[in-house]
């Protein structure tokens, strides 16, 4: 994005936050219905680097924005399988193995109790079950943070007072300057045609 902002008099209508290079255009809406309608038009206009910020998860916003389903369930499944394998290997190694020639501090110990089998699966299921759940849950949360690229401790958008209301009671459509189609004039006019309650330019 190389376009100069201050030089173009036609952009004066859009209030600016900061005075650097343009970072994103913000359009504010007051209701779910309005923002969904607007999001469908942004999607159809072909923008890619954009988002809808809202205080709640909006029902069906994934369709309105044209989002693909997340791969998160596969991450959970993979972690669950690893957890199950870990639980199985842990219980088996601890109580049912003797490997000659390795250090006694990592050596398993064949625990013979009441003449029962050294390893029987049913008696070890509780631990395998718990490690499966534990790994899957940790994987889900880490997967969520990873896919969402969080933690993100600085975000230029938060310089806008208006943007901060997205976590309380306003709905904002943000089109970033990074988008290939972004042009201050045309994108600004396009957003204005969606009839937002306010329009704002955030700079870096």
């Amino acid at each position: 994005m190389t376009q100069s902002t201050a030089a173009d008099p036609q952009d004066e209508a859009i209030p600016m936050v900061g005075d650097g290079q343009p970072y994103a255009l913000l359009a504010e809406f007051e209701s779910v219905a309005e923002v969904i309608r607007a999001a469908e038009q942004v999607r159809d206009a072909g923008y890619l680097v954009w988002d809808v910020h809202s205080p709640i998860p909006i029902h069906n916003i994934n369709h309105a924005m044209g989002l693909r389903p997340t791969i998160l369930p596969w991450i959970t499944l993979a972690h669950g399988i690893v957890g199950a394998a870990f639980g199985f290997l842990l219980t088996w190694w601890m109580n049912a193995t003797t490997v000659p020639g390795i250090s006694s501090s990592v050596q398993g110990y064949e625990f013979l109790i009441s003449g029962k089998p050294i390893y029987s699966l049913p008696a070890n299921i509780p631990i395998i079950f718990e490690t499966t759940i534990l790994f899957a849950a940790i994987g889900t949360v880490l997967g969520l943070l990873g896919l969402n690229k969080l933690p993100m401790l600085y975000n230029p958008l938060t310089r806008s007072r208006r943007f901060l209301r997205a976590t309380a009671d306003r709905f904002l459509i943000v089109i970033e300057a990074e988008d290939a189609q972004f042009d201050l004039k045309t994108t600004g006019d396009f957003l204005r045609s969606l009839q937002p309650t306010a329009l704002e330019l955030v700079t870096e």
Binding site: I56, T70, S105, N124, E130, A137, T140, L150, L153, A168
Partner: protein, 493 residues
Amino acid sequence: MSSLSLPAASEMPTQLDLQPNDPNQRVPLVLGEHDFTTVTDLVTDIPLQRTPTMWYVAMAGALSLLSLLFVTVGYLVTTGVGVWGNNNAVSWGFPIINFVFWVGIGHAGTLISAILFLLRQNWRTGINRFAEAMTIFAVCCAGIFPGLHVGRIWLTYWLAPYPNELAMWPQARSPLLWDVFAVGTYATVSLLFWYMGMIPDLATLRDRAKSRTAQLLYGVFSLGWTGSSRHWTRFERAYLLLAALATPLVLSVHSVVSFDFATSQLPGWHSTIFPPYFVAGAVFGGFAMVLTLSIPAREWFGLRDLITHRHIENMAKIMLGTGMIVAYAYSIEFFTAWYSQQHYEQFVFMNRPLGPFAWAFWTMFICNVVAPQAIWFPWVRKNVWAIFIVAMFVNVGMWFERFVIVVTSLHQDFLPSSWAVFAPTWVDLGMFAGSFGLFFTLFLLFCKFLPMVAIAEVKTVMPQAHADEHPVKFDYQPSSDTPPELRRGHWFT
């Protein structure tokens, strides 16, 4: 609402519930004329501005009990576990009673956050946040007791499986080790679920905080959440996945706790009914604790529009339902003892209601079986403080249930020569009271500094959360001539 006649506005306070038993007619989940702005204000003002006087009073009480915990634990660690009343016959005593009591309480939080979520019970949004917090604090309290009961608490880390120079591993076929894994996993997953669900609300606090310190702290813990819809869609999927993982987990935890008893050969413990019986009892006792906390908290913090009488009544009904399962389990235990024709089993079940601990058995029976029956009556459900009193009975009763299970089975076993009577010492009593201090201190800190109600989730059940094509058909709105005090959550109190 055509064919169903609603009561006139003037009759509303005397009606049990605003709807007939018809899911098409329900009072709204958020009372009063709230929109997203006022709901946000209502919840965020607690951490950011107002502190009710009762908070300071309650905190003073909680801290004094907490200091009692420090004193008794310090005395025990420096002296030895002999300061407890545990003896040769009753080797488990208070530590295990308290452990089972506290772990059980946690179950209601997970039931609300996970199982009611999977069952699409939208009313859970008002209460799930602090029910989950309660879960975590209850598990903290539970963890103290087995940790001390191992004797040399500086060696508690031996419970963990790790390669060591002693060539020593835990015994994976023992229910006691299953317990370590079950409770450890439960604590971790509950904490993750609670924290993950709180991230959007912490961001709300960050964006509304005025002081630099608050902005910084809420900012760090909200991880840069901005309410992005790309984030929200993954967040909702993660929430569903965690709920699906937590549901079997919560059922497993108290099942595993019951295995500690059921896999032993002791009469009164060696019973296949234990896992479902324990899980139902845990939910029963847990809901009593949620009611104990939520009824005063919604008054003190002015949250009656979000935690409405409908929430309280629903919880009371779940408490009654699980209480009936518990009552059934009590009866079937006696039937099994009689039907087994097993001498020792029959002795234990005669000894419980008639022996030296009959007072404990009958306390349990009155509190857990008789008292909850009051919930059947509409005039009891109409009064939150009547529900509160029933919940207090259940709190007491569920502690005595564990006392009866642990002590009566142990104090008179197969050999009359080893029989003994159990009496708690002042350390037992002080540590139990002190664990309430820890619980209430953590809970009050949570109320003051974190969003007590899941703000974003409550907003999703408000009419404003729905676009035109998804109108909310089922929510009953008070008519325009309804007196204002009836619109703000004061219907039945």
